[in-house]
Symmetry: D2
Subunit: 347 residues, 4 copies
């Protein structure tokens, strides 16, 4: 079919790469024609992910072996730092680049340097990137050449907060985000911190007070409110499950508002969203596994004027590869649900 777009997955052997492949295999308008890797170049992707056996996928090659002139879209699933270099190198040849790394999320090069401990090498390119929190970025996504997909924590936090923040329902200074992530969020690294026996049947916080996703959340809240001083509390935890993320958010209501009004506002804001479910009951990560949905519950706290927002996603899907595909659909002017409507398997 001449309409089918040719895709390359950069960094195919990581978890976000594998999830992007899984989703694109079910996409009617996309064909995967290149998979790249560094240490895994020369191997078949099915050696690393046997679930992908028999899917007619290309072998993993080095990124500079790809004939970029034939690629319509590149999904960059690379570590930060590496991503900007590769994207800078191929951008003149590839009409659409969807970056799943952290390299183009923070618009301010100074903030990038402060957060990631190294200068950004392509500040102009950074400026051109669209921050692809899909539901709040549709206008900018059509025809975009470079999309920076948000981090998993920012996706879950911001989808929880934005309708209320935009409508002025919350006190921005009061936001506390307590997040819990499944262990795929740590990536496919060979490290003593990721050994099964030391992660199963236990839980812990990490990055306390200084996780790199916090400035990304601040940035977006600042953008929609114009309030330069927004700074959220943010504490992530690793819990023994593979996929899934909860953000439990505590926020004080602005004067004059109550939970009922908040709920009405959210239902209206999200009523036509294909992937957002605002529910009366408490959302559970297990029901969102391998799905592109975001689930949200809004609850009254026992402390007056405080409410609790509980957001849930699959960190690898809506928190990464799913949102990336959704963004790509929008860059092409397609139905944004293409390739993303499979039902999650549960249990």
């Amino acid at each position: 079919m001449s309409n089918v777009k040719k895709a390359a997955i950069l960094g195919a052997s990581g978890y976000t790469g594998a999830e992007t492949i899984r989703l694109l295999l079910g996409h009617p308008n996309v064909k995967i024609v290149a998979l790249t890797g560094h240490s895994n170049a020369g191997r078949e992707i099915s050696e690393i992910y046997p679930n992908l056996l028999g899917r007619n996928l290309p072998s993993i090659i080095s990124w500079d072996e790809v004939d970029w002139s034939e690629i319509d879209v590149a999904f960059a699933c690379l570590p930060h730092g590496a991503s900007q270099e590769t994207i800078a190198a191929i951008r003149s040849q590839v009409p659409t680049i969807i970056d799943l790394s952290a390299d183009f999320r923070l618009a301010d090069p100074a903030l990038y340097e402060k957060t990631y401990g190294r200068p950004h090498n392509y500040p102009a390119l950074l400026k051109s990137a669209v921050y692809g929190l899909t539901e709040f970025a549709r206008d900018n996504l059509t025809g975009a050449a470079l999309v920076a997909c948000p981090g998993c924590y920012p996706t879950c936090s911001l989808l929880s907060l934005l309708p209320g923040i935009k409508a002025g329902l919350f006190k921005p200074s009061s936001i506390i985000i307590d997040a819990k992530s499944g262990i795929t969020g740590a990536g496919r690294k060979i490290s003593d911190r990721l050994i099964y026996s030391e992660l199963t049947d236990g839980a812990h916080a990490y990055g306390v007070g200084n996780h790199r996703h916090a400035p990304e959340i601040d940035q977006m809240l600042t953008r929609v409110t114009g309030n330069d001083d927004i700074r959220v509390s943010f504490t992530p935890h690793l819990i023994p499950m593979n996929r899934g993320m909860i953000t439990t958010i505590y926020v004080d209501l602005a004067k004059g508002f109550d939970l009922e009004f908040v709920q009405k506002t959210y239902k209206k804001a999200y009523e036509n969203e294909p992937f957002i479910i605002v529910s009366e009951s408490v959302p559970e990560t297990r029901h969102f596994k391998a799905s592109n949905r975001f689930g949200l519950g809004l609850f009254k706290d026992r402390v007056e004027h405080r409410i609790i927002l509980i957001g849930v996603i699959d960190n690898l899907t809506k928190g990464s590869a799913g949102q990336a595909v959704q963004n790509y659909n929008l860059t092409q002017g397609w139905d944004e649900t293409l390739g993303l409507m499979g039902s999650a398997a549960f249990p």
Copy 2:
């Protein structure tokens, strides 16, 4: 679309029911028009399986509230005993019935009674049922009115054994099947045996020496060899994972054969199978999750003349609902892969 078949799922709230729903939601030729339940009648299926929210599914009703005259196919996901009663009651009105229970698997009423501790009430109906181990039943499936889908253990064991047994490569008296199942295999029962805290982080054998799936395995081996005395050793274990099954089978080679010949025989037998993967490496359950595939590895034992067959499936998919859909596709003369080609999510 006039070609779309109307399906009812009987016993929708159990795990095989939920998995059948998940698969049929992605089936191009089937629409789910009725869900039945006993204690859950009157509820929405999404109250039990929130992953199914927003899928336009009917409410759960009692089986006698269904207008059976409009149903093209019933998938019976009922407990044994209950299944035969309901099927007997609706069979004159429903052209195709796919039974996922144990009620029509054993062709001999006496064996059924001995195995399940109660007489079979519909021996004539029993006789008419097609035993739907798909890859070995295609000739009988076309146009079948009642298909008995094999149990999960027999599916995994028989797909491992049959090509070799049919070709006379193994000594039938030597078969030992050591099986390991994920916990969804125990169903969605409210029981102190299924409490999370008593099943996680540990493992155990059960039904040692007398599991009900063993006679089903004997029956099929007897059928293909004509050898009345086949009786396998079979020991299942429950291990702390949700989905997945391994059957590790030890078998002595018949005189004159070696592993290489066995491998050649299997590769030939299964070369055109869309859901069977005969691999060099050891198959792992995690790569088959939510997929209709069966993975098989064939290995030389350290004891001469003995080989080891390692088969892997998802007990809820190829071991139950997936095989059921595959069988239904064949009763209708459709491509048997319809609705079954989604890639498993891993990790």
Copy 3:
């Protein structure tokens, strides 16, 4: 030995009962002479907990079959409601009663009724109970006849908060407690909510805005500050591990204080505590499994003047049975570490 005290465990077949048995089996001064149960009366405890096989434990009997005149101490591991009735019935005969239920934790009968939905039947007895948050109750524990052991969430939260609250370092109105518990915290109930397949590999909040442990936390904070208006935010989550609890607490510093001062205050407050570890690094639940320790980390938040307290316990040990034994040791004037110094097994 004439010094050995005779213990009865009421409600032995629940998880707190089993943990109390495990700990007392290693206690030099205590011998278990009676185990009681309701539906399990007549059974051996080792039928339910095979790990207790061969330990010379008595059979489970009904509580009214016990010869209470020979009992020195009763550990009541009963459901709330049932606990007060049994305790009222046996108290004249049993010199020391350690209650692990919720029945004697809230000193105000009106608050008990509001929280548990039924009136307290023994308000005078309630008044006499010592609230056994050990490290803050030693003076009252010596010779106490009835000790109410705190809930697991209050134990972890209050040990985190009290040194700072007592020293006036925190703004009491700012306390937000986000808690995560292992699944044994839900008890050994036969319920569809506790099925393995629906709890593994996923997480969720529960009791949002109205969990019964919140008033217990308020009560103790109010007691030490004399501030009637303290009301904490408290949201518990269930995560897929057996034992363990984290309370992540966000609190604003009172004017003039900083993290360094807070750390100094805590180290001093807890310097001689045998079971409390104030550490520089983030505590993880897995390192506290089956131990009576409480681990605490104190961290600077990225929001100025806010700090994060991360407390960790084993919900069944320090959060229940361990603290109960520790309290009993103190009622007898013994070394409080007796029976509690076993090293946790990890991994």
Copy 4:
């Protein structure tokens, strides 16, 4: 106390090292005075195992920094190959060496070389080692200078098989061992094969047909029967739990014997064993966690003349460090249960 023996743990930072430390901390006659490590030299053991914090343990040092003249006993928890070198170097100074590695298990240097792919460098030393399958080695353990503790799979398999094999109840040629191990059995290695996300919620066989523990099982069976040709089938599986092991063993009865006689023989053989439980019901790994017990069930198979032996241990305790301590107790002529009677925590 002058009677207290001074222990060094070689390779303290691995899982068997950590488990040995845990057990010795509760041992009345042993004090840990040295911990050695290679890459971890210079660190505190509590940095790696925070559960060991506050236990007055020495810092990890290099093995050549130890003053071996003051050491009474060395527990060698080193990788094979490294273990023999270190033991050879210190043996003249250390009266008792308990080796937990594989280096001294196979009495025949040629078999060692064939199995481990390298020659054994100390064949004379190999000859002097006592194979410490405790219950069948007591006579040789008293005063032994070098004890080779069996592998976890051989321990569980041989304790299951030996009473029957010694009494001639089984056909030695018929033995098939299907084993399942928790993931700590793979050790504390930094490897992509041990990443949490790729081991949780799934299972697989490994080392099919050629696992290194199989010759060790053959050797012991050969030793007690004098039958040179014994060669067992042995297939291990990794399942998603931390600790625990099951060996499911299929064996044909020798002529004239039945299950009842087998059970009687085992009960008699094991009646005075402090750590062996022969039970009517199926043993489960979870009830043996962190305990030095071995549980055994003996069952009739559905195939005539075949029986099924189901053995269960904790791979790190009875399968390694627990048996090592038990062996050490016997070398000293002490009660062999010293330090090993703690009750397992369950759930």
